[in-house]
Amino acid sequence: MKKLFYKLCAALLIGAFIIFVSNIIYTKYFFKNDLVLLDAKMLMQLDSLQYNSDVLYFAESSNGTTANSDTCLLSISQMIDTLSPLKINAVEHGAIHAKTYLNLIKHINSNALVKTLVVTLNARSFGSPWINSKLETNLSQANVMYESMPAIFKRIKLTFNAFDNKSVQMRDYINEQNWSKSKINVPEEFPYKNVRQWDNAMAYGTYLLPNGDWDVPKISLACHYIKTYAFTIDTLNNPRIKDFDEIVTVAKQKNLKLIFHLLAENVQYADSLVGKELHHIMQENKQLLMDRYSRKGAIVVNSFELVNGKDFIDQNWTTEHYNQNGRWILAKNVFRYIK
């Protein structure tokens, strides 16, 4: 037994030594390659920007997406930068959400120049389709790379599947379950009990063409609006709520001024395509987010209904991509709170 104990100790020591050496080798030679491979380059972005920016603007594709017809190709953060005497830079990547922002904000050092953070608060990201998006596995992998721990442990977490690694099939299944279980919270009596019922009703010929055929593109878009926005934020279990709450805490700890930019959604289309019930649900979620984070001490910039429907780039899908008019409106709105 004593011999076994010594053997075990020796094995543990050798194991620790291997991990220690591996960490040195990995950090020096492979870590950056893996950041690129996993599309986790924002960490490098942040490392260079935190020392030469007064304000960091954390955003997904809403910041930099431009329309083909735009003559001004500035992103929202660049527009704010032109308005402000402060130096404003963006830490951005398409399709990311608050979990990524949180992990990155944790990397801001105490000696960094940055004193203010603007973080996009995307109401759509609180819904099931985004939380269980098929992109989530890749995002979770990138998020592991953003965590604050020795590089070799990040690699171990990734290679040993210690992240949200559900299959696309499983994510679709969860979405389907959520749509079937979720309740529609509207003040008046409503014929549909859940999103699935509402979506089905909309799918069967709500919109007809003059010749009597189904207007399929319009129906698809209306259904998509329902599945995307017809949710009530559960403040106890919604993972995005937890992330944004923690962002507030971390910003306070790091003594950073925190501004949440509640992004514009195409409320006009939601109303005209689907109806006042969806509009009501969206308003409720907006109010909940504004109240919650104002109460927690963050500044919440409300741009929710600021952009006109025609200024959204994607007219046949739900995105937060705005043309130059939309971007300027948002930039000016945020700028008021930065000065």
């Binding site: 050798i14 291997i18 893996d34 491979l37 996993l38 070799i152 290679t159 599947n161």
Partner: protein, 462 residues
């Protein structure tokens, strides 16, 4: 739960520790709970399907043993129909709806997730009732032991497909803590993880990239992708099986080897004696022999062989491509059998001839894997066409990085070194310095050179 997950690396030592702390008579309870938890980690509701299989086959086993003639046959058929019916519902229903769409226009697809490893569970459980029917196996009276035979977590999701006379006996035997079992088990787990994570997971992105759009690549790249998949699927399944055998070994339980270096096979006949051995023997014992085996006329034998191979292909997945894959293996097997009658023994045993045989077998097997990997028949043809399309157009090259090449080299060296043995058995007899040198090499490989993106075991989907 995946073997290559931190979840398993925490779960398994706890189970092992508790297993040796408990008295033998209580261990089945621990194994049952652990196996249930292991499977539930994938998708909780589907454990009920396994419980259903357990109850049906447990009851059928007893009823078969206590019945005679037609009643006995009735209970066997009941077991077969229940198991195959379940498999059909979850795995093949949508396929048949597609096939008979013209005759069933109003029948809709089922929107369900295929339970992981269902084909393995049903086949393993079926082998038990068939053996009881044949009178070669006594019906198990203790439902706990029978449940563990179906559920035993190291091999429950991707085999080896064990027979009750082996695994049942192993589960009932008293296993005392044995340092040799522990060290051999750990060796196998280490090597299995290396094979899966450093070989299969490094090749997977390369293969996926090619198969997502084969026409973008030069024909040389197409061949690289074909060979890469050939190695990937072997490493993936062999890695899993090695970990499974190792994990069971830690608990003192011996599982059969599912692989015996199949790519060193000098013929298709040999290949099938070395690849997925537990499935090959299942089809041989429960499909091929009942059809008459080799004791039928030549024409019938040819049909039987082709049918069994095609069926084994279909076992893998509900797609024409799998049937074609199995059928082609059957066809080459028959061609080889036909030719072998005309080759004199002294030539057949000649080393040059055997080497040629090994190269030819590997090449053909690699080629046939296209039908296994491609999502559909058209894609498979496209990939094959791409292998023979020589063009001056600018296309992409499939680049294998130095890390993957190094890992492949390490893997090949290990496979040659342990030729005709097994990793644990070979290294248990080596000097301590050599053993630890190998462990350290493998540990560094796992930490630094495993595929950064992990991929689910390919055979889990079957």
């Amino acid at each position: 739960m995946l073997f290559n997950s931190l979840h398993f690396l925490i779960f398994f030592p706890i189970v092992t520790l508790l297993y040796y702390l408990l008295k033998q008579k209580y261990r089945w309870i621990l194994l049952f709970i652990a196996s249930t938890y292991f499977y539930s980690a994938f998708f909780l509701p589907y454990i009920l399907i396994l419980y259903f299989i357990i109850i049906i086959d447990y009851v059928c086993g007893i009823l078969i043993e206590n019945s005679k003639n037609k009643t006995k046959l009735f209970w066997l058929l009941y077991s077969i129909i229940s198991n195959i019916g379940l498999l059909f519902y979850f795995k093949y229903y949508n396929f048949f709806i597609d096939v008979f769409v013209e005759y069933l226009p109003n029948v809709k697809h089922l929107d369900i997730i295929l339970p992981i490893g269902l084909s393995f569970h049903t086949f393993q459980s079926l082998s038990y009732t068939i053996e009881v029917y044949k009178g070669k196996q006594k019906a198990e009276k203790h439902i706990g032991y029978f449940a563990n035979y179906v559920l035993f977590f190291p091999q429950m999701v991707a085999g080896p497909i064990e027979r009750y006379d082996c695994l049942g006996k192993e589960l009932r035997s008293k296993h005392v803590f044995n340092f040799k079992n522990i060290s051999n088990g750990l060796r196998l787990i280490l090597y299995g993880l290396f094979v899966k994570m450093c070989i299969a997971d490094n090749l997977a992105p390369l293969v996926n990239e090619f198969y997502s759009n084969p026409t973008q690549y030069y024909s040389s790249s197409a061949w690289i992708a074909l060979i890469a998949f050939s190695i990937q699927i072997y490493a993936d399944f062999y890695g899993y099986s090695t970990i499974a055998v190792g994990a069971a070994r830690l608990l003192g339980i011996n599982l059969m080897d599912n692989f015996n270096q199949p790519y060193f096979a000098t013929s298709f006949y040999q290949f099938w004696q070395r690849w997925h051995i537990s499935l090959t023997t299942w089809f041989r014992n429960y499909v091929f022999f009942p059809m008459g085996g080799s004791y039928v006329n030549a024409f019938r034998w040819i049909i039987n062989v082709l049918l069994v191979f095609a069926l084994s292909g279909f076992w893998h997945g509900a797609n024409y491509t799998f049937i074609i894959w199995g059928f082609l293996h059957g066809l080459f097997y028959l061609i080889e059998k036909g030719f072998s009658n005309f080759i004199p023994v002294f030539i057949a045993k000649n080393k040059i001839f055997l080497t040629f045989g090994a190269i030819a077998t590997f090449t053909l097997v690699t080629f046939i894997w296209v039908f296994f990997r491609a999502e559909n028949f058209d894609k498979a043809l496209l990939v094959i066409k791409q292998c023979y399309t020589y063009t001056f157009e600018a296309k992409k090259d499939l680049l294998i990085n130095i890390q993957t090449i190094t890992m492949l080299a390490v893997f090949i060296v290990f496979e040659i070194v342990i030729y005709k043995s097994r990793f644990d058995l070979f290294f248990q007899n080596q000097k301590t310095v050599i053993r630890w040198f190998v462990y350290i090499i493998l540990a560094f490989c796992l930490l630094l050179f495993s595929g950064i993106q992990s991929y689910q075991f390919i055979y889990f989907q079957f």
